[in-house]
Amino acid sequence: MWGLCPGMPKESDRGEKMKNTYKIHLIGIGGQGTIKTSTIIGEAAMKKGLNVVMSEVHGMAQRGGTVITELKIGEVYSPLIEETDADLLLAFEPTEALRSLNKLSEKTFVIVNSIPIVPFTVSLGISEYPELSTVFEELKGKIKNLVLIDAQKVAKEAGNIISENMALLGAAIATPNFPVDKELIIQSMKENLPPETIKTNLKAFEMGFTEVKN
């Protein structure tokens, strides 16, 4: 609630209330830049004058562990998305997309990075990574609006493998109904990424965008 303390911001200071809310679920692996990607979207939404909240995972989620962030835009209070209620799902790894299926409905647009990351538990024989082709088939079978994108290839072409997350961001904002303008996302990228990486990141972002738009 806003406006609780005397002299504090009023409810009207919150961002503009959209008639519909828009909810984005991001899932990836520690070190892939999921949190940074989410923050860029969130700040861009704020710039547009929309209300936005976001949840992050910190602490034990170290390199190698699953990282989930959620963004809710519009007349919303909590940063968590109900089951079957995501408008957009952005998965940084194919099996991680499977982990988040419960957030999907028929209307959800899903962007999945096709590059697998096999955890050490598989080499140790204590967990299993299914055949990649089976994973793709499963995703295609379960998801109506699916885009599989080789973000690694895009990032490499753009100049640095580290820009994978920006390639995926570009793909995400090219989906229909995405509520924040591309220009604002670019502005937000410039304010959140190390200056020396901007050129490569923007290139990866544009390539990811084109991949989905076409």
């Binding site: 609630m1 303390c5 909240v53 390199r63 562990g65 209070y77 940063p79 538990t121 299914p130």
Partner: protein
């Protein structure tokens, strides 16, 4: 956003802040002068921001050696007329509790806020304790924000309330508030006083029985007055969605889920949001209860308000049904979410639930447990110790591994499995002493550098004095690692990045009277193993310090220097013995389906320890 904007952001501007970042801004707007903490998730980022901006903000900030010391530093500042802010994770307040309980008696001369970040669902904690109960135990007023804007605003309000009643304030966040980002509208930053002056007043600051009996009376008087404020404060507000059948009493993170569910479904209920939550506003709640047919209490994580509401209903002989945790309408434990509240409220309102068509898969999804990073020195320590044990032919199943709070608790995972007991910060030593006395088993205790300073030292004193035969391994990675890499007394930097004296762990151990103390570099596997062999055969307390910086520190250093060494496996030399995969278990090393072993260059940290592990010298610097 750049971190500096938390300080430099102009009044009226908006930032997309984490709850923890908002706490920093709120403290600055409230004119804070002294800030202290011991890092603990989910509160850690507050310290990370102060580390970067305190100097510029003209604020004194320190990473104290533990939470009790941190609280004492801040309470002294508040007694000397400076606004102070101390923050910690929920279990940190247990460490600070002895002083915390007394500071509520003595009170403060200037505003002081104690922030406790609770962790429902235990994302990064050893328990799920609800520190709203701590507020009741101590008799300290409590504020419970629901979003980053409120965190910021309540910091400022909390300072004023604290100053008005000369009592510290306890602010309670939860993981979901501390790690939630939201839009925060900024107010003006106020510069606090640089230095205070302590006016002597023994009858206020000495807790001897003759004085505390009076303080106790004063405390109750203060709480009665603050309850009157809580009854009429706009912080405790009613939101009428146009119905009086059901009243929902809620606060903190649970409020958000209630609002999401009620607005999305347009359910006609009345909501009471309790933000100044202790002293519990009896009069306000009583009137609210009377205005509705039945009550649902939505709170995380103990049924604290629910029981107080039942008491009010009993006291006033009302006949109202209360739904909540106690009757099973809502889950008794763990964090809530919108789905849980949707189901709970729908049940009470007798709504027929639309069936959600959940998509699911039967495919196996690989597990990704938290793991020691590639290049982590702890892995090398475990590997060397394991080799030493094997070579001495000791029965591993008889050795007791008493470990501690930190990344090294991940030694629990296979293949090391070197963690048998861990309950709290510093416990590896006390527990080790107990096992050494209660059994004839060999006891090995593990502790990190920061945890050693925090609460390990008294345990080592105890081991020496009471002749508890333990081998203590201090895994000194030159940082407080698991919470994100904060400084500690063992490193030459203080909480504001200024040079500071390094406190020597080796010196402490010797000073205490440990006869065999040795520092080794765990990246030198052979020497480390030799030292462990010696230590395992020593009669008496032994301390081995395995000193090597955290991989994340080394990464940063190497990046700056442009060092980028990667290793790869020479397939012609590799005999697929899998020692590097199964016994060393670096996440960068993996096997292909054909059984060949490879190193992922993206993950390889270049520590080179695997080179020493390989019996065929098949691991080489990648060209």
């Amino acid at each position: 956003m750049r971190v500096e904007e938390i300080l430099t952001g102009k009044e009226g501007g908006k930032l997309f802040l984490l709850g923890n970042e908002a706490a920093v801004r709120g403290a600055l707007e409230g004119g804070v002068s002294v800030v202290s903490t011991y890092p603990g998730t989910p509160s850690s980022e507050i310290g990370d921001v102060f580390y970067k901006i305190a100097q510029k903000a003209g604020v004194y900030f320190e990473f104290s050696s533990n939470e009790k010391v941190a609280l004492e530093v801040s309470v002294a500042a508040a007694a000397a007329g400076l606004r102070s802010f101390v923050f910690m994770k929920h279990v940190g307040l247990n460490v600070a509790a002895d002083s915390f309980m007394s500071t509520v008696y003595t009170g403060v001369s200037e505003g002081m806020i104690v922030l406790s970040a609770d962790d429902p669902s235990m994302y990064s904690s050893q328990n799920e304790q609800d520190n709203r109960i701590m507020a009741r135990l101590a008799g300290i007023p409590m504020l419970e924000p629901s979003n980053p804007q409120e965190v910021k605003d309540l910091m400022k309000y909390g300072f004023d309330l604290s100053e008005q009643f000369q009592i510290p304030i306890l602010m309670r966040t939860t993981t979901r508030i501390s790690h939630m980002r939201g839009i925060v509208k900024l107010g003006p930053v106020t510069r606090g006083k640089k230095k205070g002056f302590f006016e002597k007043n023994p009858s206020q600051f000495i807790v001897i029985p003759a004085y505390v009996v009076k303080m106790r009376k004063e405390l109750i008087k203060k709480l009665i007055k603050i309850e009157q404020i809580a009854n009429i404060s706009p912080l405790n507000t009613t939101i009428d969605q146009g119905g009086s059948k059901l009243g929902i009493i809620t606060g903190g993170g649970a409020f958000n889920y209630v609002m999401d569910v009620v607005t999305a479904n347009d359910w006609k209920v009345k909501i009471l949001k309790v933000t100044l939550s202790y002293p519990f506003p009896e009069k306000l709640v009583l009137n609210f209860i009377k205005s509705v047919d039945s009550i649902l209490v939505a709170e995380e994580v103990e049924p604290v308000m629910e029981k107080e509401i039942l008491a009010i209903i009993g006291k006033h002989n009302l006949n109202k049904r209360v739904y909540g945790k106690l009757d099973g309408t809502l889950p008794r434990i763990y964090e809530y979410n919108p789905d849980i509240l949707f189901n709970g409220i729908a049940k009470v309102l007798n709504k027929v639930l639309p069936k959600k068509e959940r998509v699911f898969t039967k495919l196996p999804i690989p597990t990704r447990p938290a793991v020691l990073c590639p290049g982590c020195p702890h892995r090398a320590t475990y590997f060397a110790l394991k080799s030493a044990i094997k070579k001495l032919k000791l029965k591993e199943e008889e050795i007791i591994y008493s470990t501690d709070i930190g990344c090294y608790a991940l030694g629990l995972e296979p293949p090391y499995k070197m963690a048998d007991y861990c309950i709290s910060m510093g416990s590896s030593l006390g527990i080790g002493c107990g096992f050494a006395k209660a059994t004839n088993q060999k006891v090995i205790s593990f502790i990190g550098d920061s945890t050693f300073f925090h609460a390990g030292m008294p345990g080592l004193v105890n081991a020496v004095h009471n002749k508890a035969k333990i081998l203590l391994v201090v895994m000194d990675n030159r940082i407080t690692g698991m919470t994100g890499g904060q400084t500690n007394p063992g490193v030459p930097l203080d909480g504001m990045g200024n040079p500071a004296p390094e406190v020597s762990i080796e010196g402490i151990a010797r000073g205490i009277g440990v006869k065999l103390v040795k520092t080794v570099d765990p990246f030198d596997l052979k020497k480390t193993e030799e030292m462990f062999k010696k230590a395992l055969q020593f009669e008496g307390v032994v301390v081995v310090i395995t000193k090597q910086p955290c991989a994340r520190l080394t990464d940063t250093k190497n990046r700056k220097k442009g060092i980028n060494i990667k290793y790869s496996i020479n397939q012609e030399k590799c005999i697929k013995c899998l020692i590097c995969v199964k016994n060393f278990t670096c996440p960068a090393i993996f096997t292909e389906k054909d059984g060949s072993v490879h190193i992922n260059p993206l993950l390889c940290d270049g520590c080179g320890v695997c080179v020493q592990v390989c019996p065929k010298k098949a691991i080489e610097v990648k060209k």
